[in-house]
């Protein structure tokens, strides 16, 4: 049963331009999330940052259930996320479901003269994550913001 999720990297990503060439051996190697600074706190007070509380285990060990993060809404209106960025994202088929995942790959399409991008998102805890392995590529318009720092850590 539970062995199945330990497939190699997801199928259907052969046309990825910027791929998994990062020097990351495993999800445990991601740098820790920055702690809350006064600057970010003030931005939150001013309404330029939003808060979210983590539910579920898919971002372990990076984020625990109950942790709170600050994110910058509309960060990806004009610019694109870096690979490895932690993003707040709308489920592509269930818009009411807002998730937190990490950008694992980007796919660019320049056909028709208009550059468009889509993203392959993964939870850090592959054994307990529903992500692009189940719902596929995610459009940039579904990325609701970028996580900038931790707000609260569950004890």
């Amino acid at each position: 049963m539970a062995d199945e999720q330990y497939q190699d990297y997801p199928t259907g990503v052969d046309n990825v331009h910027t791929s998994f060439s990062m020097e990351i051996e495993s999800p445990e190697d991601w740098p820790a999330l920055p702690e809350l600074s006064w600057a970010e706190f003030l931005l939150w007070v001013m309404g330029r940052r939003s808060r979210h509380r983590i539910e579920g285990h898919s971002m372990l060990p990076f984020l625990q259930p109950g942790d709170e993060v600050l994110y910058q809404p509309q960060a990806y209106r004009k610019s694109q996320p870096d690979l490895g960025a932690v993003v707040i994202v709308q489920h592509p088929h269930r818009p009411a479901l807002v998730m937190i995942k990490r950008v694992a790959a980007m796919d660019s399409d320049a056909s028709g003269g208009l550059q468009s991008h889509r993203y392959w998102l993964l939870g850090d805890n592959w054994a307990e994550s529903s992500d692009s392995r189940s719902f596929g590529w995610v459009e940039q318009s579904q990325l609701l913001g970028t996580v900038v720092c931790r707000f609260h850590q569950t004890p």
């Binding site: 539970a2 445990e28 006064w38 898919s58 995942k101 189940s134």
Partner: protein, 157 residues
Amino acid sequence: MLKTISTLIAKVSPAAAVQAHCDGPCGVYDPASARVTAEAVVSMTKKILALEAPAAGDAAAAIAYNNTLSRYIAVKEEQAQKTKEDLLILWTDYFKPVHLEKYPDLHDTFWKAAKLCSACKVEVSQQHADELMAAVEKIHGMFWASKGRDVAFVKAS
């Protein structure tokens, strides 16, 4: 000070949830399956030890005895193997390095539990069967504690 403020804010007014979830069949782990199979091992061990040998010269009783004993042994071996597989899945797939920090004896616990599965398979030992049950209970405790939940260890028998 900033940390105190943010902790207080998070406590007084928790933020809206964002899902770091898993809604598929993947990642569904539960030590209950190991508990059920380990119970079967304990039960079969007890039954084998309690089985009375047939009277000498009673051919029908000998056949019945051998048949029953063989079946008990087959089930014991099968369930001990199944227990081992269930435990290994928990060990290698569910538990993560972060859990190892919390439970430094995690590897030792699983290693010993897996060895007990082998012992119960090979031997007819009430002592080892009971030790296996205790090991599964310990793993049950670590598993649910790692999820921040207190789940009672309820046996079927």
